[in-house]
């Protein structure tokens, strides 16, 4: 990484970065409050039928045909290509819904169709999945906080959870602003980002801790700066390789995991930023100090550790 300028003064701009983060988080929260998340079938309950056509259908005709056939609250949208159509219905369970929808569409002779999938989620199951998902997210954050507090120190723990919360809120915010479907796979992506971003934050924290113990001089700000510079190369390369595979998923993974890939792309991007700016920023804001990391007995071991 010698090609990269080794002394970027990250912390000089920490105020600006802080404002940007706060602005993004606020924007996300506002959007979440106003627009809310466009929850997918998994969480709302309902019925969904995906049909693939031989030739592209006219969506409006399709909608009226289905309504004529007696379906209520029909929404029809393309899914991935103009040959694939997603039909959503607000109705209870019916064992024949897939065939019924096909029959209604086939009543117009112009269309040749095939059933790709049919899904029904009961309202109560949807609600439970929603609760479980939220609980899972909180549980993940809670456990991480405990683990980091135990392995590092309380201030680090607060900093990494702040970074994670920052990432999650911005991801959710983006899904809310763009009104993308938030379903179970996207939830999985959010949790994966918690894991990923945490990974990043821990690597940085690890170096900050090490430098606080090793470097005898310098303000906390200097030490954080040095640490960020030292880990910058690794942070960028890992993010890059991860983004590379995510782009592969995004472009070639198909429509079903499209939103999953989007969530991860955004998450990894924000996660990389947050491990540089949010975690370190919060640490400095809490006046992290050499004394916080002094562990008298262990100090000797660390010195011995050096080859």
């Amino acid at each position: 990484m010698s090609r990269i300028n080794r002394s970027i003064d990250f912390m000089a701009k920490r105020k600006i970065a802080g404002y940007i983060s706060i602005a993004l988080v606020l924007l996300s929260l506002v959007s979440l409050a106003v627009n809310q998340l466009k929850l997918g079938l998994d969480f709302t309950g309902g019925t969904l039928v995906e049909v693939s056509f031989q030739q592209a259908p006219v969506l409006n005709d399709l909608r009226s045909e289905l309504e004529n056939a007696g379906f209520e609250d029909v929404t029809v949208q393309n899914f991935g290509s103009d040959l694939d159509v997603l039909v959503r219905l607000a109705q209870g369970f019916s064992p024949t819904v897939g065939d019924d929808v096909l029959a209604a569409i086939r009543s117009n002779d112009a269309y040749e169709v095939e059933l790709k999938r049919a899904e029904f989620v009961g309202a109560q199951v949807g609600e439970e999945l929603r609760d479980q998902g939220g609980l899972g997210m909180l549980l993940a954050l809670g456990l991480v906080m405990v683990y980091v507090a135990f392995r590092f120190q309380l201030k680090f723990s607060v900093a990494s959870v702040a970074a994670l919360a920052h990432d999650v809120i911005i991801m959710l915010g983006l899904f809310s602003i763009l009104q993308l479907d938030f379903d179970l796979t996207v939830l999985a992506a959010v949790l994966a980002v918690i894991g990923y971003s945490l990974n990043d934050t821990i690597v940085v924290s690890d170096r900050i801790r090490e430098n606080f113990r090793r470097l005898r001089t310098g303000t906390p700000e200097d030490i954080v700066n040095v640490s960020l510079n030292q880990t910058l190369g690794r942070t960028l390369i890992t993010s890059l390789t991860t983004l590379l595979v995510l782009f592969a998923l995004f472009f070639f993974g198909g429509e079903l995991i499209h939103n999953f890939a989007i969530a991860l792309l955004v998450g990894v991007f924000v996660g990389t930023y947050s491990s540089i700016y949010v975690a370190a920023n919060v640490l400095l804001a809490m006046n992290i100090d050499r004394e916080d990391l002094m562990v008298p007995e262990k100090e000797g071991e660390i010195e011995d550790d050096r080859p």
Partner: protein, 616 residues
Amino acid sequence: MINKYPLWKYLLILVVVAMGVVYALPNLYPDDPAVQLTPQRGSVQISERHISQVTRALDKAGIEYFGEEIENNNGIIRFKHDEDQLKAKTLIQEALGQDFVVALNLAPTTPQWLVDLGAGPMKLGLDLRGGVHFLMEVDMKEALAQRNEVYISEMKTLLRSERLRYRRITREEGVISIRFTNEEYLDQAKSLLRKEFSDFVQTERTEGEELFLDLTLSEQAARDIEDYAVKQNLTTLRNRVNELGVSEPLVQRQGRNRIVIELPGVQDTAAAKRILGATANLEFRLEASSDASVLDTEEYPFRDNENRRAVLERDIIITGNSVSNAQSAFDENGRPQVNIDLDTQGGKLMNRATRNNIRRRMAVLFVEHKVKTHIAEVEGEKVEKRVPYVEKHIISLATIQSALGNSFRITGLDSPSESSELALLLRAGSLAAPIYFVEERTIGPSLGKENIELGVTSVQIGMALVVIFMLAFYRVFGLIANVALTVNLILLAALMSMMSATLTLPGIAGIVLTLGMAVDANVLIFSRIKEEMQNGQSPQMAIHAGFERAFVTIFDANLTTLLVAVILFAVGTGPVKGFAVTLSLGILTSMFTAIMVTRAQVNLIYGGRQLKKLSI
């Protein structure tokens, strides 16, 4: 000696990698589309004769097949083309008749030597294979209510036989109330019921002049009943699924009152749903004699003509639950009928009832438990309301010519398909408590195939991008990391195959993500080595320090990610669980490869040499 591994470490790594290759290998052999033949009853043995019967039919239709074999009393016939599979299934079912269940199957093509080692391919999830996933909920309230009804009639009989006079027994929301007119009877009933019905908690209550004894099931007893209902339904559903002829079905309890059913490769999902959710049963009753009291009779309509009705006795001779076997067939006029065999107890009851009532008429009642679902608005929120109701129709009313025994036939059915469905339901048993579909996911076979292709493409492209990038950026060390990455992928596939974990589309996404993240550990190590060299360390020292220092960081970072993956596994369902599994396994294998496999390579290449600089 610095940067040297002892021989055993190299050997260990080699053994692990070799085992990985062996156990991952079966995944490279694609499954054959096949049809599986299973005898309807255990007593029937499948033989060469059956197989040749089938192959003759296939030859006649010009369908290409191969590898027909018999294993564990199951016949397997493989096909060259996917599209032949469905056609062949219908043909085979016709050729063999009803004694066999014919199911679509994917037959593994793993070579024998791998099978002997216990290796096999990963299972594909429904989203990759096509099929149906159901989540069904057992109506616990109804299960309790049904059980309480039985208790009430038992209590009535008991109180009557002990000559304890009571006014009335009612049931409301799980509380059975018995009304007495005098204290003495109440006290006697109390001690009697306490002895005979110990599962109930008793409370006394007075309303004006009236004395009430309220009986509530204890929590433990209620839970036992619910548990029993779910287990009973599970058995019935398993039987039904087996009757449907699906290979590798999954029928499993989930949580307190739910049952998951997964049927891979099912094409006719509507039929599957109808049969799984069906609650059809039969009741056999005598027609009421003209002088019977109104209290002991009930009137039901005929099924083929709602306006025709008949008055039947309230007492049921037997229900469909006493049926031990049922087969659909045709009578001499070509109309559908069901031949029924009763179990011993049922046969006795039937014989006793018919022996004494020759010349009277007996009715067969077709009973269906149905549910009306409608969406109601409660306090501004949409809530699904389910109202269960029972439909009973007479399908036949015939004069008893002679005493009936264990086997007889019933007629009056609409169509052959109805008679075979009724026969199936009678064989499989009825549901102990009403059951509802609360979730359903049907994936068409074309989408499954599409998903596999997309998944494989994205893994290949993702892998290629990472490999090229690492090579360009780290040269020799990049190559080393790429070898480790490949080993990682192989080990991951091997682990998943050994655990016979299910691969889903999010699971593939998990693999792709692991690929991206797996190089992280190597990047950490390499960055550290570079840094040490910039600090003036010699290359050998830098390598040593780089691995040493990076280890703590790698360990911390991976452990926390693993933590999150475990939570994901705990709260997720279905596909999300698949993602969690690949993610956690990927973390474990990548720790091994990024640290051990990389180190071994570095040691082999650079260990013990005089180095001026590193290609990093």
